[in-house]
Each structure stands twice: as structure tokens, then as C-alpha cells.
Symmetry: C2
Subunit: 280 residues, 2 copies
Amino acid sequence: MTLLADLADVEARRSKSARKIAAYITAEPESVLSMSIATLAGAVGVSEPTVNRFCTGLGRKGFPDFKLALAAELGRRQPGITQDIDPDDSSRHIIDKIFDATRATLVRAQNQIDVATIDRAVQILGSARSIVLCGLGASASVALDAQHKLLRFGTPVIAHTDVINQRMTTASLTGEDCLICISYTGRTMATVEVAELGACAGATVIGITTPGTPLTGHCDLVLPVASEEDTDLYTPMTSRIAQLVLFDVLATKLAIHKGPAFSDQLRQVKDSLKTTRYQG
Amino acid sequence: MTLLADLADVEARRSKSARKIAAYITAEPESVLSMSIATLAGAVGVSEPTVNRFCTGLGRKGFPDFKLALAAELGRRQPGITQDIDPDDSSRHIIDKIFDATRATLVRAQNQIDVATIDRAVQILGSARSIVLCGLGASASVALDAQHKLLRFGTPVIAHTDVINQRMTTASLTGEDCLICISYTGRTMATVEVAELGACAGATVIGITTPGTPLTGHCDLVLPVASEEDTDLYTPMTSRIAQLVLFDVLATKLAIHKGPAFSDQLRQVKDSLKTTRYQG
DNA sequence: TAATAAAATCTAATAAAATTACATAAATTA
DNA sequence: TAATTTATGTAATTTTATTAGATTTTATTA
């Protein structure tokens, strides 16, 4: 179910008209849902059969079937309404609400991701001499999770969750090093100061935070994380989940970036753990 | 979840034919997507205009529009099939695949949750004298995240990510303490041994792991976490996300369990952080 | 560069599907 | 039980999508 991604691929592989259609649909997919094949053909400037061939070419039965697939895809992208938790809710309700809220956060984060920014971050991580991760509170465990993911790449990486250690390490970074500061609020003074220290030391600073906050001022690159919470007393903070998945994306892209020879190293790291486990 | 919920409401409010239609669609919504209005009318045993009126009665423009809404709704419910990541995938594809895989894991975890088990876990946590969290590797950051969530409840809680410290602490637990062991594989020897130590010491042991693994043997209560991975080299480990959300559920239920007086304490903890942040 | 072949696209005709108008039947109420 | 409202079905109409065949565009080769 990667219809929208397939649409992006059309850009390269298919004919001129197909590209025009794909571009139009990518630009405003929602409006296509309420169009007939004639309306869409007119809007794009091609004939109806061309639109129809476009749909069948993408593996659909026809235009209506294509619209259904598009609707399903968009539905997945549209965050459901996140509802506050009521102390009187049943356990089942609470579970559903928390999972729904988490999914909604993921959807928002996914929509927010800019491919070019990710690619630049991967470039930076791939060429960094060392990587330092800083986070406090909930962001501390995100930093540690990221450390665990990045360890396997061979590049020296450390997550600091102690303000003193963060400052000591950061102050002695060089232009070849990369500092990743994680803060959901982007306002934690200690973390902002660490980012500033890192920037002064010449390190490339990547911020994983809410855009437009004090932290972003000291960052060379900001990976925005959807933020729309802290409204309700009981609803948990879900943005850290989005941050974790963001690191999943970075680590995965980095592994691919390193090339096929590197996959042997990944396997070695995996194998190194075998003796620590009871075999199934 | 508007449309499917609306369908359930139809049961009560609308006419006989409308109920028949709603029942049919509720029973197998996916198959309706590939039906024409005539096919559906035939399957249900009503006329085409009746189906049409049913759709408009639910606030849709007509049958095709209804199908689009249904497709969107189903798309939100059922995460796409998790696809392995191909090194040749575009960045957009990789991002979508990772987010989809994460959502799929969440859906699986959500379906797997047993309300009674959660409630029992909350009971245990609520009455524990102290809580010890143990995890290694990826589970270490889950333990730390859980610690961060549980800190605000006042009960002494600590996450250990060092095997020696884990054993030392665990061995000296009492029957009033609670030990939470986190391991996605359920086969990490060190963690299994820690669980055993804790059980011998008399502590209540909660395992957050895959059912049917060595770890579960030493647990008083197992919170299962959907596991279906490690197949692909590049696809990231998503079960830790499910574990985090599981802790969100536990912490939220615990906050409610503690009663309304406790919400003041929650606010105090929140307020205690204010001076560490730049105000927006 | 011109001739030829392949493809992409369009116009027009056909088929399919959905909607509307109107008639009939069922249910509800006085 | 008759009157009235509401629900449902039949058939006609309209909208929408698909197919067939002609035409143009693009690519290929002599």
C-alpha cells in the first residue's frame, strides 16, 4: 500500500501525460477523491482514456478503484481525532485512546518529514568522526535508544544524559563531529546551552525538536517532530515515539548509505549477540 | 472512527432495510469496496435506491462517496502489509515503510492486550513498595523511559541497565517489591537470570516480553508484546515502540487508579520543571 | 535527415453504474 | 380501520467509466 510513493516513482518511469497526472494527484490528492474521471482529465489537460490507462497502469482495475486505493492511503495518513482521557473511561477505552493518539502522532510526524532534510542528516552522520547524543528527561531515553541503534555503524557514538558530562563532551567537539540534541519542548535551558556549546566548538549540530523554539537557533539542521500535546493531564507524551521512529529512519538510511559491503558488518553485530541468548 | 461507529448506530435508529444494509457492511466491509450498488443491493436483498438512500442518509453524496469514506476508514484501521526495505527504495518509500511497520506493530500490540492483565499489573504497581526495571540493549532505553514515567508517582522506582547492578538490586528485593523485566526476545540470559533472582527473593515479577519464551517462566505476570521481526536486515526493531506505549497505558491507568487527589501531585511535578525551560 | 516503427494520446461510441421520478407497499397513528 | 406518513421498489434518466479505432507524437534506423 504505497500508492503515493508509487505516484512519485511515476515521475521518472512513465510517459509525459502520466507524469502530469501523477503531479496533479500528488499536489492535491484530497480533491481528486471528489472528481469524476472527466473532471480530472479536464483539470490535468489530458483525455479521459489517458487517465484510465494511468490507473490500470498502476495496477488498479480502473478509475473508481484507483480512487478507493487513494482514499485508503489518505485515510491512513489522516490522524484520527485524538480524544482526551476521562478518568471514568473503561480500560479498553483508555487503551484505544492511547494507541490512537500514538498513531496520530506518528501520522503527523510522517507527514512532517522532509526527505531532503533526512538525506542531509544521513550525509552528516555518515561522514562524522564521532556522534554525541544529548537529551534530558524523556528525551534521555530517546538518546539512549538512538545510541543503541547507531552503535553498530562503527562510528564512535555516545549518549549523555547527565548535564555535566554533556557540557564537558560537547565543549571539546571539533568540526568533524556531530552533536544531536533532543528536546521535545525545544526550551529546556540545559539542552539549549549544550547545543550552543557544541556550535561554538564547531560541531555540526542537529536538533530533534519542535520548530521555532530556542533550541533551533543553535542548530545547523532541524528534524522537526510533530508536537501537539501536554494539553491533557492523563494523555501521555507521544512525541518521543515519533522521535524514536525518526531515528529508525535515519539509522536505516545510514545503513543503506554505507553500501552493500556494510551489511556484512551488520550481520556480524547481530551474530555477536547469539551467545547471550537461550536458543529457541 | 466516525463512519463505522455511525453504522453501529444505524442498528438502533433506522429502518429495517437500513439495518440489514448496515449489518452486511459491518460484517464484511472490505468486500463492499469492490461491489457496485447493484451487487450490494442484491447481496443484502434490497433495491438499489434503498442502498443509495442509506448512503445519503449517512451524510454522503451517494454510493461511490460512501465507498470512499469506508475505504478511508478501513485504511486507518488496517495498517498496510509490512514490506521489507530494499536498498534501492527511494527515501520516501523507506520512510513510509518504516512508519507503516511501526503502525502495524502498534495495531498488533493493541489487539494483543488483555484488559484484565493490564488491570492486575496496575494493581501490583499501585501497591508496590518499590519498583525495579531491568532491560538490556534496546530494552534498556525502554526501562529508562518507563522509569521516567513512573517517577512522578512517588513510589521509589529505578531502572537498571547494568547487569551487575541489576543482580545486586534484584537479589535484595522483598515480597512487597515489584520487578519488571523487559526483553523483546525473552531469551537474553542475563535478563532471565535477573527475573529468576527476583522471583527467588520473593518479589512480584512482571515480564514485558514475547509469550512462551524462557523469561516468562519466572514471571508472575506477563504483558505480551507482539513480535514478528528480525527477519529483514534493514527493517528496524519496532516492538520496543509497542513496549513504550504499553507503559504509557500502565502509567495512565495508574494515575487514574491513584484517584483524583493524586492529580494535584501530577501538576506539582509538572510545575517543578517550569524553571528549567525558556518560556514560550 | 528521411522513412519507418512503436508508443502514446485523442475522439467517438459503448457499456456500466448511479441517481431520480414516480408508483406501490408497509407501518404508524388517530 | 381509515388516513397519513414513511419506506421501498420499478423503471427511466443521467452520469460516469471503459473500449475501439483513428491520429498524432516520439523514437529508431538506414
